[in-house]
Amino acid sequence: MADKSGSIEEMAQRISSIKQQANELKAMSGGIQAVDRNVDRILASVKMLEINISDLVGLVKDSK
């Protein structure tokens, strides 16, 4: 598990970046539903990535 801890942090950073970009896209849409609703779907998938990866940051590193 220890060899995976570095990549978990890197993956978590990428996930955070996707989330930030999705939110920025929504903020600049001016309420276009075709943007906002699709961003909501992206964010739901991002949440699953957080559950699967980001929530482990710190935990797996501690097992080194």
């Binding site: 598990m1 978990i8 949440k47 699953m48 699967n52 929530d55 797996v60 097992s63």
Partner: protein, 445 residues
Amino acid sequence: MTDADKYWNPILETLPQEKLKELQLRKFKRIFEWAYHNSPFYNGLYRDAGIEPGDIKVFDDIRKVPKTDKAMMRAIQGKEPYPYGSILSVPLEQVTEYRQTSGTTGQPVYHPETWQDWEWSAESWAYILYAHGFRDTDRLFIPFGYSIYIAFWAAHYAAEKVGCEVVPGGVLDTEARLLKMRELKATGMAATPTYVLGMADAARNRLGIDPAKELDVRRITVAGEPGGSIPATRKRMEDAWGAKVYDHAGATEIGHWGYECQAQCGLHINEALHLIEIEDIETGEAINEPGGRGSMVVTTFDRLAHPCIRFDSKDVIEWSPVEKCECGRTFRLLRGGVTGRADDITKVKGVLLAPAAIEEVVRAMPQLGDEYEVVVTKRGDIDSIALKVELLPESGAEIDALKEDLARDLRAKTNLRYDLEFCQYGTLPRYETKARRFKDLREKE
């Protein structure tokens, strides 16, 4: 095979138990805080109990949190925000799906899903299907009339997520489903144990098809009833289809929390998505050691619209003494899946009876059909229990001898004597969804 091929999430599914507990404590704090601040129902419950988010510091503090149950859910619903009531923890505009429980134990419970929560449901089912061996090379047939209930909807979406080609067998009748499965060379199926057996029966007796030889189904995921974890019922299904049968467990309000792996030595609890506590049925004391059997209390992490926190499911489970599964998963194992419901376990003639024990005896007798019915009545002050079974027409069995064997095995398994009735094959009710084979007609005191 690499870890990425073996597990849906090789990191979470092999996390050491002490790390899993740490993760669960973090997640419990998070869902507790969410519910406290966003659900008037939970806020009131916790304020009345004098507990707030800062009070959950260590794992054992979780037991200070009041439990919830289905009766509470029923009492809340039907009010504003309509129809979910004060448990709803997101604005009503964010709800994108309506579901409800099957109502097996009474008034159905309404269940809202946001898009994110629905994504979560598919995610939890993806763990199940992947552990059962489904991959992007599979064509999964779902012979189920999708409807207002959650059943198999999440399986459908999860199968897409895993990469399977999904064939929704929704409104087709049984014969049409079987013919379509043959035509498309479906490699997998997801259904209730009752319907898996019923389809095989229909294939043989109505279409003249032997599913084990003439269909391509290699693996079957079962749900909704305990049969997948009852060895005699599983054997019947596997023999009839020539396929491996894998069990899983879940419910509308708590999500899909347990699954078998290909080692088939019990149900793994998905401890990354759920906290499962086991409590003694009579005393409510926590069961903290393998081998213990009791009632299941569930917390579902990360599902936000209708939080499920320390929900007393009434399901009876047993923590397996097998501590390490050969599949490599570290998630705790349960022996025998969900073995019954605490409110199904009833006293007959003063003896505690779990109806699943009767099924185990009936299905272990090859001369008998798959269907049976149990009726408990009271004559004066004395309980009476009757069991109806069907004799397979081709069995050639001698009824008196069979009756004697059945009575003996039932007595050994359940410590009760039954009035046995052999019915003509095909006369007992057939079920497509959850079967209701146990009928207690005694007046409640």
